[in-house]
Each structure stands twice: as C-alpha cells, then as structure tokens.
Symmetry: C2
Subunit: 373 residues, 2 copies
Amino acid sequence: MFFSVLKEDTTTRARTGVLFLKNGNVLTPAFMPVGTYGTVKAISGDALLQMEINLVLSNTYHLYLRPGLDTLEKFGGLRSFTGWKGNILTDSGGYQIFSLSSLRKIEKEGVVFRSHIDGSLHTLSPEDVVKAQKIIGSDILMTLDVCTPPGISYREAAEALEITSLWAKRSKYCWLSLQEDFKGQLFGIVQGNFFKDLRKRSVEEILELDFPGIAIGGLSVGEEQEVFYDYLNYTSSLLPGNKPRYLMGVGTPEYILSAVENGIDLFDCVFPTRVARNGTVFTSTGLLPLKREYNKHDMEPIDKECNCRTCRNHSRAFLRHLFKTKEIMGPVLATEHNIFFIQNLIKNIRKNINLGNFRQFKEHFLQEYLGDK
Amino acid sequence: MFFSVLKEDTTTRARTGVLFLKNGNVLTPAFMPVGTYGTVKAISGDALLQMEINLVLSNTYHLYLRPGLDTLEKFGGLRSFTGWKGNILTDSGGYQIFSLSSLRKIEKEGVVFRSHIDGSLHTLSPEDVVKAQKIIGSDILMTLDVCTPPGISYREAAEALEITSLWAKRSKYCWLSLQEDFKGQLFGIVQGNFFKDLRKRSVEEILELDFPGIAIGGLSVGEEQEVFYDYLNYTSSLLPGNKPRYLMGVGTPEYILSAVENGIDLFDCVFPTRVARNGTVFTSTGLLPLKREYNKHDMEPIDKECNCRTCRNHSRAFLRHLFKTKEIMGPVLATEHNIFFIQNLIKNIRKNINLGNFRQFKEHFLQEYLGDK
C-alpha cells in the first residue's frame, strides 16, 4: 500500500492521509519546499526535519545540468550526495525546459533544448527522464509533460495534451521495466490548458494508465485567480479518491487552502522561500516586507503567534537591519520563518480536517490573513 | 576579580585563564569571531554557543552607522537588539575610521570622517566612542586609537602614538565617570607602529593608566610575517602577567599559535568567516578551496578529523556544488566548519597548555598543517 486516506471532511473534499514512502511516512496534506539544486535554499535539512517536513521537491532539469547525472550516479543518488535524510519528489523537468532553457524542438520522440547555464545542447526523451529520476533516487517521480501558458489556442493546447499523454504512456512502460531494483512511485500529470474538455480528456487518458498518483499541472502559471479556482475545482472533481493528488506549483496560504478544500494532498512552490530571501515574510495578518522603514524600531517578532526560532529570538527591527546590511542571516532567518509558517498552517489544516472543522478554520484564517482585502 | 590565570606553560609564555564577564565566563585563550554589524556573518548565535563560543567582537564604527545608536539605545543594547546571549567585545572604530571611511581630519579633539555608506559627515571624540560602547552594552570596550600602516616615518608613528596615549587617558576618565551603572571593562591599546622604542613607550603609557586589560594594535596590518613575529614577541614581552592580553586582528592557525606562545589570551579576525564565504575552508593539512574541479567527485568531508555538522553530514563534492550553484547554504556550511575548526584548535591549545604539552602540540599541528611549506 502506497497511500491511505485517514479522514474525509464532510462539507468539502478536504482529507487527511498518509503516503508510505521508503524514507519515512508523509502525512498529507503536505507542502513540499523546493530544493531546486537538490537542497532547499538557505535552510538545512535538519531544520526541515525538525519541523516534521520529510518530503522535498527537487528539479530534475537543474540536477541533470548540475551536478549532473554522472556525479549523482557515483554517489548512489541525491540523498547521499546532499545528506538529506527525508523523501524526495522530483518533477520531470518539463516545466523548466519550457520556461528556462532556450527550447530548440519538441517532438514526439522527446525534447531538444539548450542549457540556460552554458548553452550546451541536450536531448531528453520521456524514458531518459524516468531513468534520470531513478539515478536521482526519487521517492516520487513525475512523467515528462508539456506545460503550456494561458492564452494559447485550442489547437495548440490539444497538441500539447496529446504529446503529454503519449509521453505518460512511454514513461509508465519505462518505469515498469525498472521496478525490479527501484521502488520510486511514478505520478502522471494532467494537462489540457484552460479548456475544460481537454482537461477532462487528459484526466481520462492519465487515469487509464493507472499511475500510483495523479498530478495537476498547468495551473498557477499566470492565469487570473478566478480561472485558477475554476479549473482547480473542475479538474480535481474528476479525480478518483484512492490515489494521492498533487497540485503543482502552489504555495501561498490562499491557494493551499483552496487546494485542500478541493481534495489535494500535495503541493509545492518556491514562493515561501523566494520571497523570504527578498525580505518578505508571512504573518497571520498577511505579508510583511521587512526592509521597510516602519520596521526600524519595531521590537515585535514577525508574528507574535509564531513559535519558530526566528520569532522566538529576533525582532522585526533586527531582521530589517540584517536585510539592510545584506547579511546572509537575513535570508536564512526569513526562510526558516516562512517555511515554519506554512508548515504550521499545514498542521492546523490536518488537525481541523481530523476534527471536522476545516471549513471554519479556513474562513477564520483567511479573514485574519486577508483582512479587508 | 575580572581575570584569573589558570595555568602557565613552563617552556613558553602560553597560559590558560578565565575572564569573568557579565554574560558568562570566558575561557582563554579565546578566539572571537567578528560580527561586524552585531552578528557573525552566516551563522546563528545558537550555533556559536553550542561550540562554546560566548564572546564575539562587534565593530563600533559599523554599529554607529547601522542600525545607529538611537536604535540600540531604544533596544537597551546590542544583545537585546540581536538576540545574542553571550558576551560582546567592541573595538573602538579607530581601525575602521582610518581604513574604510574617507577620513577628513584627525585632531587631538577626535576624528572627523565621512561614512563609507552614504558620505555623511561625523565627529567622534574618545569620550563619544566610550559612550557609544556603553550604549551598545559591551562587556569589553576598547579606547579610540590611531592605527597606522607599515612603512610610515618615525615622526608620523610618534605623533599617532601621542594621540593614542592622550585619547587612552581621556577614555579612561570618561569610562570611570560611567561606572555607576555600567560594568563593561575598558582595554587600552598599545600602538607604536614598527619602531621598538615607540612600542615600549606606548606600553609604558598605557600601563600607567591601569586598564583592566591591554590590547596590542597595529600588528597583522600588512607587514611581513617575520616583522609580525618579531613585534609580537617584543611587545608582548613587555606586558604584565596579571592582565588579559588581546592581540587585535589575528585569526589564522599559524598566527593564533604564535600569539598563544607569546602569552596572548584573546584574538579576533574576519579571516575564518570571510574566506569561508568565498569557499575556502581549513583542514588539518592546510586550506582547501572548495570550488576547484578536483572536488567534483570527492566523497570525503572537508576534514575527516572534524566533528562539525558540515563534516558529519556533507562531502566536499556537495559543498563544491553549493558554491557552484551560488546556494546560500555554501557560505553557511563553510562558515560553520571554519569557526568550529578554529574553536577546536583553541580547545586543543587550552588542553595542551593545561597538560604542559603546548610546544609539542604546536609543532605537531603546524607540521601537518603547513606540510612542506
């Protein structure tokens, strides 16, 4: 057994569950911090484990370029290379190939692209991507997909979907052929852009392949908020209950709460860590930009209700000072707070689902968090 | 009682001791990491305390400019501003005013200088500097001095010395006037450039003022290594045994060992933390530049004999990867290692002085550390 639902909410589709992974069980809903190059920026693995975060996301595209598969193979995988003791989910690199590299060609066979680092030319088939994730030693793998931005034509969206489904099938076969000495779980990705019939068709084609888990891709990619909510609701309603559901690229409190309400079990996003490095932190009443002048003499912690190391030890004034003087400890302390804040939200979400209070909790949290906005 | 000698070596002037400070007793010899803006770069105070480092140096010049004395006064001192729980030694800003700011004028009255940050004009008298350190809440304060580079004329050196002695006297009177509600200990600074009779005269004039501790300034400022050793030996031999001796600006293993051999109790330097942020780390066989290609597949820790968190969890290859991908965790992990390495050296120095083995320890350490160099 790979996934088990623990408790289902009665008024929403929210649920708690557990993923049984090789490197420790993961309670869901779970937020995965992003460790692009194999390690979450500005925070140690120990600190994440102390917060009970034992699943992080890494980017296959970045790891393939640096340190490279040769190094990872020599080390026996990413965990022994980085020293991370928890689980790893890797994306397929599809999103990065389309957004970061200078893409040369997308063919049914695979993709040809140039590295965003040195311009070198690379070819990756869906099979290569599965094998790369095996070398990384991922506990959860993703299929290579074609992720498209909002605003493209129906025909372009349909073509991207067809290739995504074809690649999903080839990925599955490749993954099955590797199972003898590899226990990573492969997730299929639903695409279909912002066309409901394409979303439906994608769900059907992915479900037919019977992956251990299902991801929703191509949302939170720049579309309007209303469109996001609409497509999240629509797509997630088509998914079966017995498999874990992963919404890719979501990580603000508002979107996380919506995702959970729609029955999502997993999400990831660079947002909490990226804005932290820039001096913006979460509080129970919304985002706080630490560098602003009004923090200069503020003796309060970032959030009085927060029990993270940053809030227990440091004032807003001191954190502002760290950012103004460009001290490395600024990003470090802000990152620790932001991940702790999101993880605390996740823990409260789980607790309230288990108590049957999820909807009230969500409303109460957002009322304070968004204020009059 | 402020300082007590615990054990004196029989074949060198090395000694162990203890400083009784308000925020915890400090075992000597002690290395002070530098927290320029009130906090050691890229490492938390908790991590320092875990290594049993409970005395750090901060720069009065930098703190005066940022966050400014108004903020520090409002917070009741630097410790409550930063959350640091150990002791603080502050320099007087003299060295920084002469090296960083665009200096306008040095008069018997004090210094007039422009901030290196925004060019604003500032005037500081020796009394202002003592009062600034009281606002900072320093456990050990330094007098304002005139630090000069190697190569100046005898006359220039003598003039700088005269002003240093005059300022030392004024600092002492000011400090005495503040004693009712302030327990920080003021150290006088010996200058005299690279002229032995001036060094001797400076020692005499400083000793006459009977400060709780004596610092040797103006060494390790760019002079030849032989000159450094010569002037360290000469100056330290003139100091009395009952007061703590502080050699300013020293922090490589070779210089630390020499300082200890010459009876020095305290030293500080940015070297261990600065080179760490640039990817260079200490090993028992010398410095290791982590970014070099030859570390790419190196599965060994920085130093097999080191028990720091970085060495217990991470390989040279992974650390190289962090620096190549410009991850913040590169500087963080390298800093933790370098400070741990120096602190471990310090602990071994203390242990071997107490066992009567200092000279053998020094020779053995340097043989391995310097190799054939």
